[in-house]
């Protein structure tokens, strides 16, 4: 007797439909899974058997063959346990074929017959073409996020079988708690740091990558953590993509759809694969994809291995990272705002009191390759706040006030046809960023005295555009904005070595 049950498996952040075929035939009793299962999937055999027996269902003393089609894709994880069990029940005549017609299944089985959650429910459900899909009850809320098929939840195999036979009613699906996420840290907590605050605001408004350099205790991390609070809520597309990625990575989705900009801060011990995505068997999205449409904060950026840092260059440019493995090539969305924080040298003291040797400083500076540094539109030196400001200074502007300006600047950028000013193409710069006469003469002087490269010129103009948008000025960009854009893009400390 043969049964076919639709399901799906995860490839990167996308689901791929899988048909689970099961045949029970005469022969020596045994259970074989074919069709490129990975280890977790192959172990389904033992889980399914134990779950059937603990649910009071019969385990056939005949030859059972399970095929996962199409056989070319690698099937990962335990999400196919439930469809295998159902297909086996149908093939063994415990269930009517009609009762599961047009129903797809997803879920991992426990030995006691419970149905457990699987990572990537959102993209998996999206990939399924059936009318109805049965998912673990825990994932019920997540599965309903993106529309698509009717969602039913199952808590245990036994209750599921009863529901399918029509002996029980389907359990109600859980819902997301509607309570909003607690607000993040507020920009008003940062005392002093006028330049640092301006840099964070510009980064949020224009989507400019930001490198903060300063001694320990200067407030680099404090500033960076306030950046997501300035970003506008995600639009529908970004929100769906981000939700899909987070679901595929197995992250909890406490609020349902991801609607606020994600913030990820990997430790500097992170491996290249954990940052970029990949892994054996199951190709997981990396940190850069988890921060898609949000902020990737790399604290102590100089401590990341140079190979890891340089691997960021291509995704920074393209907004997508292609992970190629022998078996499959997966494209992960990775459009993120990069915020780096670094000490000026290994001892961290920076300028005058630094005790590092020349070689140590040069070595530290070399950790950032030129092309990577080039991608930071904003390179800002922050110092320790002075005591007066720390103790007596008033609270600065709140995140809410700044976020309004940021939203307005982003709206103006959208009128130019881009999401944010950092994405303005070079050919549009003359049109979108007209300069006053004195501002352009100033840039010309910078170019002539080798203070600025051609690429740097473009980047300065984009930042100046953002500054003008934030200030609510007209279309023409004046001195003040160009000068501040130049100041916020400190040339890296590499020039020092030529002396």
């Amino acid at each position: 007797m043969l049964a076919i049950v639709p399901s799906a498996t995860l490839l990167g952040v996308e689901g791929r439909p899988v048909a689970v075929e099961c045949q029970v035939s005469n022969g020596l009793p045994g259970f074989t899974v074919v069709g490129l299962p990975d280890t977790a999937c192959r172990e389904a055999r033992d889980r399914v058997r134990a779950a059937l027996i603990s649910s009071g269902l019969t385990w056939p003393q005949r030859k059972v063959t399970v095929n996962l089609a199409p056989s070319g894709i690698r099937k990962t994880g335990g999400g196919l346990d439930l469809p295998i069990a159902i297909a086996l029940l149908v093939a063994n005549d415990e269930l009517d074929a009609e009762s599961i017609a047009g129903v797809a299944f997803l879920g991992e089985l426990g030995l006691d017959g419970s149905v457990r959650r699987v990572p990537g429910t959102v993209p998996l459900v999206e990939a399924i073409a059936a009318r109805t899909v049965v998912v673990p009850l825990d994932c019920g809320a997540e599965a309903g996020l993106v529309g698509g098929p009717d969602v039913r939840g199952a808590a245990t195999l036994k209750s599921l079988v009863e529901c399918l036979k029509g002996e029980e009613v389907w359990p109600a699906l859980p819902r997301f708690h509607a309570e909003p996420a607690p607000p993040g840290p507020d920009l008003a907590d940062v005392r002093g740091q006028e330049v640092g605050r301006a840099a964070v605001e510009v980064a949020a408004a224009g989507g400019h990558h930001l490198l903060l350099s300063g001694p320990p205790g200067a407030g680099k991390t404090m500033l960076a953590r306030r950046l997501p609070g300035l970003l506008p809520p995600l639009d529908r597309d970004d929100s769906l993509v981000a939700t899909r990625i987070h679901s595929a990575a197995g992250l909890a989705l406490p609020q349902g759809l991801v609607t606020t900009a994600p913030f990820r801060a990997p430790h500097h011990g992170a491996s290249l694969v954990s940052l970029i995505g990949g892994g054996t068997g199951w190709i997981r999205p990396g940190e850069i994809s988890l921060s898609h449409a949000g902020v990737l904060f790399m604290d102590e950026m100089g401590e990341f291995p140079p190979t890891v840092l340089d691997s960021l260059r291509q995704p920074l440019e393209e907004g997508v990272v292609r992970v190629c493995r022998a078996r499959a090539t997966v494209a992960f969305p990775a459009r993120f705002l990069l915020v780096g924080a670094t000490n000026p040298c290994p001892c961290g003291r920076g300028d005058d009191l630094c005790r590092c040797t020349v070689n140590a400083r040069a070595k530290y500076a070399r950790r950032f390759s030129g092309p990577l540094l080039d991608r930071f539109d904003l390179r800002v030196v922050v110092g320790k706040p002075n005591v007066d400001e720390l103790l007596r200074g008033g609270r600065g502007e709140t995140s809410a006030t700044v976020a309004e300006r940021v939203a307005e600047a982003r709206r103006r950028a959208r009128e130019r046809g881009v999401r944010c000013n950092a994405e303005l193409p070079a050919r549009l710069l003359d049109y979108s960023v007209p300069l006053t006469a004195s501002a352009s003469s100033l840039l010309e002087h910078k170019l002539r005295t080798n203070g600025l490269s051609a690429r740097g010129l473009h980047r300065v103009r984009r930042v100046a555009r953002t500054l003008a948008d934030l200030a609510g000025d007209g279309d023409v960009v004046g001195d003040e904005h160009v000068c501040l854009a130049l100041s916020l893009r400190a040339e890296p400390r590499l020039g020092e070595e030529t002396w």
């Binding site: 301006a198 300028d351 020349v358 002075n386 500054l467 100041s487 020039g495």
Partner: protein
């Protein structure tokens, strides 16, 4: 060829400068090689390498050895050179200092190098990063007829160290001479630099320390200069600047201050050959802060707040109370006017007449 054997001896792994000197005081290079040499080494083949590299070999006590060095008690027994040894004829001043210096130090070293060369004084230095390099860049920026520079380096003449100075190294060798007591292929091992410093001190008539930390490498050169009775001069610096710590200490312990080229020329007893510029500037006060300050109040406030120490935009905004935008505009104008120089996010005041580099 005695030189060939001398060069081969210098390259033997267990022979340092002192042992080499002992050998060659007692024996001719050929005898020494017969006694201590390595039979596996083809002396002729080595010699070809020196000829190919254009490196001249000078043996103490023979023709061609620089006479200015020959009398020194610790003179290297074998000296290698690229360039023209004529760059050692005449008055010589060593300009030394910290590798990690401030803008101030660089500018002073650059000016001293340029003005001394113009006054016909040969500038010696070690081709290191920082002050050394700045002094030689100054020499290269001097006009026609300037005295050619000379450098004494710690590595073999085919091992350029620091590599960032490859171009400067080549230019100095073309304009003047680069000396070393290390054979071709010798790595820049740490012990070679103090040894190199004694040669600098031995060659110089005056040693000028521009900027140096309390435990800087300049200490070795100054010590060697003291032992040889070579006068040491120091450039005064801010008393709170760590890179001026040692120079200020030298001044306290009796070294003559070197404010500009004239001070050095006085020490060389050559006054009158200088460009007559530094002193005049100081006299009429155009380079002091009182007479020359920009008209714009923002710019003046920034210069005031900056003082003579590097400051970040952040610090300047705090000190002046200007907005970051206002401060940036004023700083850009100051930079265009040559008042300040910005690098890596740090701003530093420079003298109005400092050369644009």
């Amino acid at each position: 060829m005695s030189e060939a054997y001398a060069a081969a001896l210098a390259a033997l792994p267990k022979i340092g400068p002192v042992r080499l000197r002992q050998y060659l005081d007692r024996w001719t290079p050929e005898e020494a090689w017969a006694a201590a040499g390595d039979r596996g080494v083809d002396v002729d083949q080595r010699w070809e390498a020196y000829k190919d590299a254009g490196v001249a070999v000078h043996v103490l006590g023979r023709d061609g050895y620089p006479p200015s060095l020959a009398d020194d008690p610790e003179a290297p027994a074998v000296l290698f050179s690229v360039g023209d040894l004529a760059a050692l004829d005449g008055p010589r001043v060593a300009i030394i200092g910290s590798r990690r210096c401030t803008r101030y130090g660089r500018d002073v070293a650059f000016d001293l190098g340029r003005d001394l060369a113009n006054a016909g004084v040969h500038v010696l230095s070690g081709l290191a990063l920082g002050i050394d390099g700045a002094a030689h860049l100054g020499v290269l920026a001097a006009g026609d007829g300037a005295a050619p520079p000379a450098a004494v380096v710690g590595s073999g003449l085919d091992v350029v160290y620091p590599r960032a100075h490859a171009r400067l190294w080549r230019q100095v060798a073309e304009a003047g001479v680069v000396l070393s007591e290390a054979p071709l292929g010798a790595r820049p091992e740490p012990w070679r630099f103090p040894a190199r410093n004694r040669i600098l001190a031995a060659l110089a008539d005056v040693v000028v320390v521009v900027e140096s930390r309390a435990k800087g490498g300049s200490f070795h050169t100054v010590q060697a200069a003291d032992q040889r009775g070579v006068s040491v001069m120091a450039v005064p610096g801010p008393v709170r600047s760590p890179v001026s710590c040692y120079t200020n200490e030298l001044l306290v312990s009796g070294s003559a201050p070197a404010r500009d080229v004239d001070d050095v020329l006085v020490a060389l007893d050559l006054l009158g050959r200088g460009p007559k510029r530094g002193r005049a500037l100081r006299g009429d006060g155009t380079s002091s802060e009182a007479a020359a300050s920009p008209d714009d109040p923002h710019q003046a406030a920034l210069l005031e707040a900056m003082g003579w120490q590097p400051a970040s935009l952040d610090q300047l905004v705090v000190r002046t109370g200007l907005s970051p935008g206002q401060a940036s505009v004023a700083l850009a104008r100051l930079e265009m006017g040559g008042w300040v120089v910005g690098q890596a996010g740090w701003w530093e005041q420079v003298r109005k007449d400092a050369p644009a580099k």
